[in-house]
């Protein structure tokens, strides 16, 4: 999808300090070398299958389908992966790549903590040092994941600048990388940042749609009518869309976090409220003010609470190939509760954004049509904050 300069249409690029340019180029060259290397791919497949529990299930949500009374709904169960989210797919790939490059230390940003936990896990497995940057606000709302990262041997650094959320964690990880790149790989968690990160992350996450396609053809003998995923930076959505981009009959739908609504300032719906800008190494859509100052975005979901979106999604939006819809906190929380009761599956609050939109869409479709929702992660980490949202304090 990228052209040789790492662009997706007008988006993407490498807007990075000169200090990091050789590190980014080194990564680009290493990835070009290993991407088609059969040994590397075999090693990665082995890790995905025998460590991370792939392939993940494609589950037919019968009760939900009957209850909504429209399209047949399947759930792609990334929540069943080791560490409880899709993040591990990308992390195992990047950690293995970093190791081949001779790096001994991984740094990462994290919002909800899922990418941080996955990175800490891969670092433990591969015997690498690990430092995770996490916003102060997120550390408070995701205490369980903070504990897990420390248990796994990672250092968690609290980021107190800015809004103390995901964007500040990314900025701080980038700053850390400029101080130390010889032995350190920045294991970025989403399809964002400077080229080649969006491509690398998208490639490593593409296993999601590769499996959906195979599993769907086996089960239904045809492709789905729509695939739906939540979008922050966009990695699980990129993975969900990847192998369907050239199948125009499959609708690609990304669900953005609208927070308290797209007409309020408390939103993180980048495509729906942002405009083109340059930040965190890439050109893409960003929530910003008239002078280009990045907006302090908000969502109940720490993983979607980011003012930008990956450049590939910006491009898919520009060309009309994918559709990006806003989903509010309230809708996501309702979907979180709905899926728990209806299917006995507690989705991550991020994934619940995709479920919420599917709940609106399914009844408008025919019973002969099929929707796949990617459940990007499990919801254990969110129980305390959802309880709080409903006015109940539980001690976790």
């Amino acid at each position: 999808m990228t052209n040789p300069e790492g662009r997706f249409g007008i988006h993407g690029g490498q807007y990075m300090p000169e200090t990091l340019m050789n590190a980014v180029i080194e990564l680009e060259e290493a990835y070009a070398r290993y991407k088609n290397d059969p040994d590397f791919q075999a090693e990665l497949s082995d890790l995905l299958n025998n460590y991370a529990n792939r392939p993940s299930l494609l589950y037919y949500a019968k009760k939900m389908t009957e209850d909504l009374g429209g399209a047949k709904i399947y759930l792609k169960r990334e929540d069943l992966n080791h560490t409880g989210a899709h993040k591990i797919n990308n992390v195992l790939g990047q950690a293995l790549l970093a190791k081949k490059m001779g790096k001994t230390r991984l740094i990462a940003e994290t919002g909800a903590g899922q990418h941080g936990v996955a990175t800490a896990t891969a670092a433990a497995l591969m015997g690498m040092e690990c430092v995770v940057f996490m916003g102060k606000v997120d550390i408070e709302r995701q205490a369980l994941n903070v504990y897990k990262m420390r248990l796994l041997g990672a250092e968690v650094r609290s980021v107190e600048t800015g809004t103390g959320t995901l964007k500040d964690a990314v900025s701080e990880a980038m700053r850390e990388w400029t101080t130390r790149m010889a032995d350190t790989h920045y294991c970025i968690g989403s399809t964002m940042g400077p080229h080649p990160f969006p491509t690398i992350v998208s490639d490593f996450q593409s296993v999601i749609s590769k499996e959906i396609k195979e599993q769907m053809l086996e089960r239904e003998g045809r492709l789905p009518d729509a695939v739906i995923a939540c979008v922050g930076g966009g990695s699980n959505a990129a993975g969900t869309f990847y192998h369907f981009i050239d199948d125009p009959e499959v609708k690609l739908i990304g669900c953005e976090a609208a927070g308290r609504g797209v007409s309020t300032l408390e939103t993180a719906a980048t495509i729906n409220t942002g405009r083109v800008g340059i930040f965190h190494g890439m050109k893409s859509y960003f929530c910003q003010d008239e002078y280009g100052q990045i907006a302090p975005v908000y969502s109940i979901s720490a993983g979607l609470d980011y003012p930008g979106i990956g450049p590939e999604h910006a491009y898919l939006h520009d060309i009309g190939r994918a559709q990006y819809v806003p989903v509010t906190d309230e809708e996501a929380v309702c979907a979180f509760e709905y899926m728990s009761r209806m299917e006995g599956i507690i989705p991550a609050i991020e994934s619940a954004h995709a479920v919420a939109y599917a709940m609106q869409l399914a009844p408008t479709m025919g019973k002969d049509q099929i929707i796949v929702i990617t459940i990007s992660g499990r919801g254990d980490k969110d129980c305390a904050s959802i309880a709080r949202y409903r006015g109940e304090d539980i001690d976790l």
Partner: protein, 258 residues
């Protein structure tokens, strides 16, 4: 010759930086006047950005203060226009790609020329992305300053070759901020630069004392100081002009006699 180059005509240049609007635009205006009086050869005017990824805590905090105080790109243009009425010292803006991109690259360049800006430093626009910005600024006779880092290695010649104005040599790894020592082989980098260009080289990042500034100016053609000055502004607030002037005088003297 560009106006930026005139800053280096009399010898080594001392280049102080200030975050515009920290804590108010009036303070910045007074600080700049006092820098000029104290012997600054070129002044870097920082347009604050909400998320400055190349800055350490001191300039991050200054940017936050300035934006909280309500400064905008337009208010900074107006301030530069007022200063230009009686100040001839070259000015360079330092800001981030999105501030310029969001304003409109051509519109920003035109307005910058109109108010009397001579150079622009964009730390998140490396050589690979220059072409998006360079033509508009060249057309408006503003030098888009190139940066070279300790990690640039085989990129040095490519970057230096057509760099206008002066070359900003980043002293060490990491973000802006005061450092106790600088261990990069700057002499080697300067020698590589000299093979392809005659434009002056100024060293920045981490410099705070007259001794280090003099040493850097001796290795190259100038020294850039940001965080140490922004720290003074942070401590002195609206009354910072006097203290900044004293500091700049000592630093400029050390650089000029190096």
């Amino acid at each position: 010759m560009s106006k930026i180059a005139t800053a280096f005509e009399k010898g080594n240049a001392f280049i102080p930086f200030v975050t515009c609007g920290d804590p108010t635009i009036e303070t910045t205006e007074a600080v700049v006047r006092s820098m000029v009086a104290a012997g600054a050869d070129l002044i870097e005017l920082g347009i604050p950005f909400s998320d400055p990824t190349a800055e350490g805590p001191v300039i991050q905090e200054a940017s936050t203060r300035a934006l909280a105080g309500g400064v905008t790109t337009d208010k900074i243009f107006d301030m530069v226009a007022r200063l230009r009425a009686d100040i001839d010292t070259p000015f360079a803006f330092m800001t981030y790609a999105n501030v310029v991109f969001s304003y409109g690259i051509e519109r920003f360049a035109a307005r910058a020329e109109e108010v009397g800006i001579d150079g622009l430093i964009l730390p998140d626009v490396p050589f690979e992305e220059r072409e998006e910005f360079a033509p508009a600024f060249a057309a408006h006779r503003i030098d888009l300053i190139a940066m070279i880092a300790p990690t640039s290695e085989d990129r040095i010649a490519m970057i230096a070759k057509e760099a206008p104005g002066f070359i900003y040599l980043v002293s060490s790894l990491g973000v802006t901020g005061v450092r106790s020592q600088i261990t990069t082989d700057l002499e080697g980098i300067v020698a590589t630069i000299r093979k392809v260009t005659d434009v002056p080289v100024a060293v920045g990042f981490g410099i705070s004392t007259p001794d280090v500034a003099a040493h850097m100016a001796h290795l190259a053609d100038g020294a850039i100081v940001g965080s140490a000055i922004v720290k003074i502004v942070g401590a002195e607030g609206a009354q910072a002009a006097g203290a900044v002037g004293d500091y700049v005088r000592a630093m400029a003297e050390a650089v000029h006699t190096a």
